[in-house]
């Protein structure tokens, strides 16, 4: 089960993201791939992972993946449910969160994210949903994990709008912010991490069966590759079985559900 044929790119992406979460961490989760990764971690190596959703549900244990950030099961299984103003003030801004997930339509070499517009703000070609909780997650959590599918339209030289800050337009943009910022960008092709000094994202791990040239081709800037490029350890049998079982349960519960990163 560890051959490259045995799992899909989105499965390795989810499994790799899940592995970043240490047991006992307090994790601010969004819907879609982050929720899948966090719940996978919770069900495998991190049973004491604390899952917090921005709907105000703290310490949830959903049996199936929620379809929305405010599914009833999140409230029913939570240790505590608080208001939205409180989740952002006392919990996120209050520095109670170890790790947060973000995604976006565009990312640049300093891990700045755009989920607002493609094109100019006043006359966009594409109006995206907007910031949501992202700007303050980016600023306040201990570390940020970014999950984003790898293609040239997403990995751009310059984001059209800076919705949430990675390391700023020139890599020096975190002064005054508490968290460490993005520590890993997990894609369906590999993992990028910021250079310790320059904060520029480098390819540090490549998923099994993916060519470096493919990653470079799908990146819209001149992506640096780490001297010690590793190959992502493939999903274990347990990880794959748990993920697939979770997806199966979710599909049974929500007939309209499709794997968010699939």
């Amino acid at each position: 089960m560890s051959s490259t044929e045995a799992f899909s790119p989105d499965e390795v992406m989810t499994v790799t993201a899940a592995r970043q979460l240490r047991d006992g961490a307090v994790c601010f989760v969004g819907i879609g791939p982050p929720s899948e990764a966090a719940n996978l971690a919770h069900l495998t190596h991190a049973p004491n992972l604390v899952l917090i959703y921005e709907s105000g549900t703290i310490g949830t244990s959903p049996r199936v993946l929620p379809l929305s950030i405010g599914d009833g099961e999140l409230a029913e299984t939570a240790v505590s449910v608080v208001s939205v103003p409180e989740i952002f003030s006392y919990w996120l801004q209050g520095g109670r969160i170890d790790v947060g997930f973000l995604s976006a339509a565009q990312i640049d070499r300093y891990a700045n994210l755009n989920s607002t517009v493609i094109g100019p703000y006043k006359r966009p070609q594409v109006r995206l949903p907007g910031a949501g909780g992202a700007p303050e997650i980016a600023a306040a959590v201990g570390e940020v994990l970014v999950m984003i599918r790898h293609h040239r339209r997403a990995f751009v030289e310059r984001v059209d709008f800076l919705t949430s800050v990675g390391f700023g337009r020139n890599g020096g943009g975190r002064s005054g912010l508490k968290g460490a910022g993005p520590t890993a960008v997990i894609t369906n092709l590999g993992v990028l991490r910021p250079d310790q000094q320059t904060k520029e994202l480098m390819l540090t791990s490549i998923h099994p069966g993916v060519a470096v040239s493919k990653v470079l081709e799908e990146t819209g800037w001149n992506l640096k590759v780490a001297d010690e490029l590793s190959v992502t350890p493939p999903p274990t049998d347990l990880e794959l079985a748990t993920l697939r079982d979770l997806r199966h349960r979710t599909r049974e519960a929500h007939q309209s559900w499709k794997p968010a990163s699939g």
Partner: protein
């Protein structure tokens, strides 16, 4: 003290053309029936405030009721775009849409400031982003104790806040529980408030997690509207109709299909009971057609 009335009367009395309106509900307890009634009564030039302007605001925007949107995340949760919202922003259809854009934290702080009778909320927000350059209601203050610069957001004080709750009692005290979002703050920040409820009960008793009670004297009108939050849900009363969110992607993607849907389901129904009956019929027909 809240009067117990009908939704149609409450909208007629409290919501006027040009008003600043907040219809809140975070995934849970979204006041759809009230949104439809605003469309039916033909309100125009509204400024609509909401953290997550999902389907309810897509419908109001598409119906031409809205001049300005104050928001932080405008999508169809778990599905994708809000096509009527995008059509208004990208193409000015059916009319151009002014925008005042924040993050969730900023919007929550704005309502909380309004509820607290303050002109501003102070928070750590927007750092390093392009939002402050676009949004006049974002500024900054300097902490007199530490010298730190912090974000300031202008208080948000809607003319009317509309929410859906599980219960009210006959005195007009309102109770809701589960995911309670920013509804308490949005009601307390507003001059008037309309609350649709699943039912009116003799006595409010604590229910479920995070039970919130709004005393009658901060509520203007209570209107019993069972399933008034469909396709959203009311914990203890109904489940989220995920299918509708998926269907909406198709309905709203095309101007003609949307306008036909709006005419048939909203403009030509007299109230939420008729709307739900028609929706059930249509769903049954689709079900048969699929079989």
């Amino acid at each position: 003290m809240a009067e117990i009335t009908t939704l149609a009367e409450a909208v007629a009395e409290f919501i006027h053309d040009g008003d600043v309106i907040a219809m809140e509900g975070f995934t849970h307890l979204i006041p759809f029936a009230a949104g439809h009634e605003v469309i039916r009564q033909g309100r125009r030039d509204l400024t609509l405030c909401r953290l997550t302007p999902d389907l309810i605001y897509d419908q109001l925007i598409g119906a031409g009721c809205v001049r300005k949107l104050v928001f932080s995340w405008g999508g169809n949760p778990g599905v994708g775009s809000l096509h009527r919202f995008r059509d208004a922003v990208e193409n000015g259809y059916p009319r151009s849409l002014e925008m005042e854009e924040h993050s969730h934290a900023g919007m929550a702080a704005r309502y909380a400031a309004g509820a607290a009778g303050l002109p501003l909320g102070v928070l750590r927000a927007y750092a390093g982003t392009d939002l402050p350059a676009q949004t006049k209601s974002i500024s900054s203050i300097t902490c007199p104790f530490t010298g730190e610069e912090l974000a300031a957001v202008a208080a948000l004080r809607p003319d009317v806040t509309v929410i859906h709750a599980q219960q009210a009692d006959w005195k007009g005290n309102v109770a809701f529980w589960g995911i309670t979002g920013v509804q308490k703050e949005a009601v307390l920040a507003a001059r008037h408030s309309i609350v649709t409820v699943e039912e009116v009960v003799d006595e409010l008793v604590p229910h479920g997690p995070n039970h919130v009670v709004l005393p009658s004297f901060v509520v203007s009108a209570v209107a019993p509207v069972p399933q008034g939050c469909h396709p959203s849900y009311a914990m203890g009363y109904s489940s989220r109709e995920n299918r509708f969110y998926l269907d909406w992607d198709r309905i709203s993607a095309d101007r003609g299909i949307f306008e036909e849907w709006l005419r048939r389901f909203v403009l030509e129904t007299s109230d939420h009971i008729e709307y739900m009956e028609l929706l059930d019929e249509a769903t049954a027909q689709v079900g048969e057609a699929r079989n």
